[in-house]
């Protein structure tokens, strides 16, 4: 058993050391970041079997559990950090060859820290610590956005303004919670949450929603997403879209399932999510810029996950979570391949990608696999989760929701198939630019997609366990508080 705090501490240590490494050799920072992500994956694998048996609670600084910061890793957190570590490893590998920025070592510093922040958001069991990790993640993302010297600054300013406003509301929610309960520990708050006045619970949870939803890509607060995701370098877009959204949704789930489990809030979440889903898909349909299209599609997918999870039945929640992890893998693949195609074609417009598949077949195939996975075609990983989502919402009697999900899939199909058609059958109309070959990340990601598509039990079994844990708050509380 290796202490899981290491997966937060090691990237931070690496990041603090990077100026030194950069002094020794310009290539070293990217290698060090790659190695730390690899070690993180190793640590998680070493812990996997134990955590699946029972949740691990790490008390920091040797202080008794509810009184200081603690880190809680249950099954949901375990699956999340596993997915995060795999994807971050793949992106770090991609960065080995592809990060030729003017200030490269700084890019790796920020990348290393954003990964630590994402792990922190997922694992922490303390609401103020959650705020700190959210700030780490967003400030690193602000910095990473500006690495596009062309248009990055405008996107970054938008991001910073909206992020700062939401962080104020998040702090307000934390302050109100602390004032009412007298503790910042999630389990203590959960235990006391039926004692809090219901009106106050509603105000606090809405403030939490405003504070975190901007990280999770839910629409009214995520107007920054398309700008930032389309402008940032591809490795950053896939990190933001795959991993930061994953962390944001996990944090929202923690707030709305572990902290305040108030059924009237679920209706609110479902409505917000459904509206955001349809609007996201409709705007994505109109885009011609491929990365903007993918960004709006991410918004729609995240809203889908939020809506389905707030249905609240066991089956629906597992389906939503499965979709969340699928989305992380698929969007990484999509953003990486889209970035390579943009580099090759020298343009971001879908109409300029005609016939690109004949020149760079593997990348085009990667993009198609990602698209088909999102659409939920059989043998791709999205298939099982789509089925679970539709079944889950039907079983819960939410027929309107089922209809909306299917409607959204149809729109999705329209725009993804349009891109695939252009790539494979369009007329070649480009004078290709140079491209750095990078096959390994794409092949690995495609393998993962098919692996999960053909053996979904790999993830559905632990997911069912995670859903069970999520729905039994009393277990969570007694796990952390012990006999108190």
């Amino acid at each position: 058993m290796v202490n899981l705090i290491l997966i937060i501490a090691l990237p931070l240590l690496a990041a603090f050391l990077i100026p030194l490494f950069n002094y020794i050799n310009k290539k070293l920072p990217s290698i060090v970041v790659f190695l730390t992500t690899a070690i993180n994956l190793l640590i998680i694998i070493l812990n996997y079997n134990q955590i699946i048996l029972e949740p691990v609670i790490i008390e920091l600084g040797n202080w008794q559990a509810p009184f200081a910061i603690n880190i809680y890793v249950g099954t949901l957190e375990l699956i999340s950090i596993t997915v995060i570590s795999i994807i971050s490893l793949i992106i770090a590998f991609y960065n080995l060859n592809h990060s030729n920025f003017s200030s490269e070592s700084k890019f790796h510093t920020l990348y290393s820290i954003i990964i630590a922040g994402i792990y922190g958001i997922v694992m922490t069991g303390d609401i103020f610590n959650l705020f700190v990790f959210i700030e780490i993640t967003t400030v690193a993302a602000y910095g990473l956005t500006t690495f596009n010297k062309d248009k990055g600054y405008e996107a970054a300013i938008k991001y910073i303004i909206i992020g700062s406003i939401s962080s104020v509301f998040l702090l307000m929610a934390i302050g109100f919670t602390y004032s009412a309960v007298g503790s910042l520990n999630m389990a203590v708050i959960a235990a006391a949450s039926n004692l809090i006045n219901p009106g106050l619970v509603r105000i606090i949870s809405l403030l939490f929603f405003v504070g975190i939803a901007f990280e999770a890509g839910i629409l009214p607060l995520s107007i920054w997403v398309p700008d930032v995701h389309s402008i940032a370098p591809s490795a950053v877009s896939s990190t933001l879209s795959g991993l930061v959204f994953l962390a944001g949704i996990t944090a929202l789930i923690k707030i709305f399932f572990n902290l305040f489990a108030d059924p009237s809030l679920y209706v609110f979440l479902m409505i917000i999510g459904a509206i955001s889903l349809i609007i996201g898909e409709l705007i994505a349909y109109q885009q011609d810029d491929i990365k903007r299209m993918l960004a709006y599609s991410s918004i729609a997918q995240m809203s889908l996950v939020l809506t389905i999870i707030s249905v609240g039945t066991k089956y629906a929640i597992s389906g939503g979570l499965f979709q969340l992890f699928n989305h992380a893998i698929l969007k990484t693949l999509l953003f990486l391949t889209a970035g390579l195609m943009i580099k090759y074609a020298g343009s971001r417009n879908i109409s300029d990608f005609g016939g690109i598949a004949k020149k760079i077949p593997l990348i085009a195939v990667g993009f198609s696999v990602g698209s088909l996975g999102i659409l939920g075609v059989p043998f791709f990983n999205g298939f099982v989760s789509k089925i679970m989502i539709v079944n889950g919402s039907l079983n819960a009697g939410e027929y309107i929701l089922t209809f909306l999900v299917l409607f959204a899939t149809v729109i999705e199909m329209a725009y993804y198939l349009k891109v695939i058609q252009t790539i494979f059958f369009g007329k070649i109309s480009i004078n290709p630019h140079k491209i750095v070959k990078s096959y390994v990340p794409i092949i690995v990601l495609i393998t993962v997609v098919f692996l999960l598509g053909i053996y979904p039990e790999l993830i559905t079994k632990p997911l069912n366990q995670a859903t069970g844990e999520l729905l039994s708050r009393s277990d969570y509380i007694s796990n952390v508080l012990g006999g108190m």
Partner: protein, 253 residues
């Protein structure tokens, strides 16, 4: 007053009503709500345990210059929370500052080695010499605030900011003054790495990240906080360097 401003005003007023009603809620019996102003409840809550320094031990009185070997050992309870009970937050916060400084230097990278073109208009004699005298005093004050952070008000953030202010004044006062970026980098790396390493040593020695693994002494003595003052010095250096970096970068931009 155009349409947009009126819309903004209405939104703000609605938001204000929404937030302020949280304070108006009168809890029914058995329910809890926000405390009234001045009626914060500490009794039997986490805060009381921090004040009593009895998170892991039983409730004993803490007496100035008498109590020995109390959990975090520092007389300033806010410090003991920042640097000991909730040290992970502080690590995160230092990381945010580090991120901001790194991001800023990446943003303003192109003109890195340009000289600062931001100085006060008149290179006045009084100002120049005034700052010459003030500079060591500010550095001294900053260091004092950091080192005595666990005994008196103040601490690494305040002290770090004071030191950064000293460099700000120095940069303002003369064109010629240039910070040695290598030294800044060395301090930055050392401070950051030692903070994490202290945490990791706690993990190695006592089995938990950021444990206070040193003996704590008598409350209110200089050497009483265990690792608290050491952590505070590393944070103070880190804060001072990052803030100085930020100012330096902005001035050279």
């Amino acid at each position: 007053m155009n349409f947009r401003k009126i819309l903004a005003l209405i939104t703000i007023i609605l938001l204000g009503i929404f937030i302020l009603q949280a304070f108006l809620i009168i809890p029914e019996k058995g329910e809890i709500a926000l405390n009234n102003f001045g009626k914060a409840d500490i009794e039997n809550r986490t805060a009381q345990l921090y004040i009593d320094k009895s998170v892991n031990s039983t409730n004993e009185q803490v007496i100035y210059k008498e109590s020995k070997d109390k959990e975090s050992g520092s007389a300033n309870i806010v410090t003991s929370i920042v640097a000991n009970y909730r040290a992970l937050d502080t690590l995160g916060e230092v990381t945010v500052l580090f991120l901001a400084a790194t991001g800023l230097s990446a943003i303003l990278y192109n003109k890195k080695h340009a000289k600062s073109n931001f100085i006060l208009k008149e290179d006045s004699f009084i100002l120049k010499n005034g700052i010459k005298i003030l500079f060591p005093l500010l550095i001294l004050a900053g260091s004092y605030i950091i080192i005595y952070g666990h005994l008196s008000p103040g601490g690494s953030f305040q002290g770090g900011a004071v030191i950064a202010t000293a460099f700000l004044l120095k940069l303002l006062s003369s064109k010629e003054y240039e910070l040695d970026e290598n030294i800044l980098k060395i301090i930055e790396v050392t401070a950051g790495v030692s903070f994490v390493s202290i945490g990791l040593y706690g993990l190695y020695a006592e089995g938990s990240f950021l444990t206070n693994f040193l003996e704590t002494g008598t409350i209110a003595n200089l050497f009483s906080g265990g690792i608290v003052p050491i952590i505070y010095i590393t944070i103070g250096l880190k804060v001072a360097v990052e803030l100085t970096n930020i100012i330096n970068d902005l001035m050279k931009a």
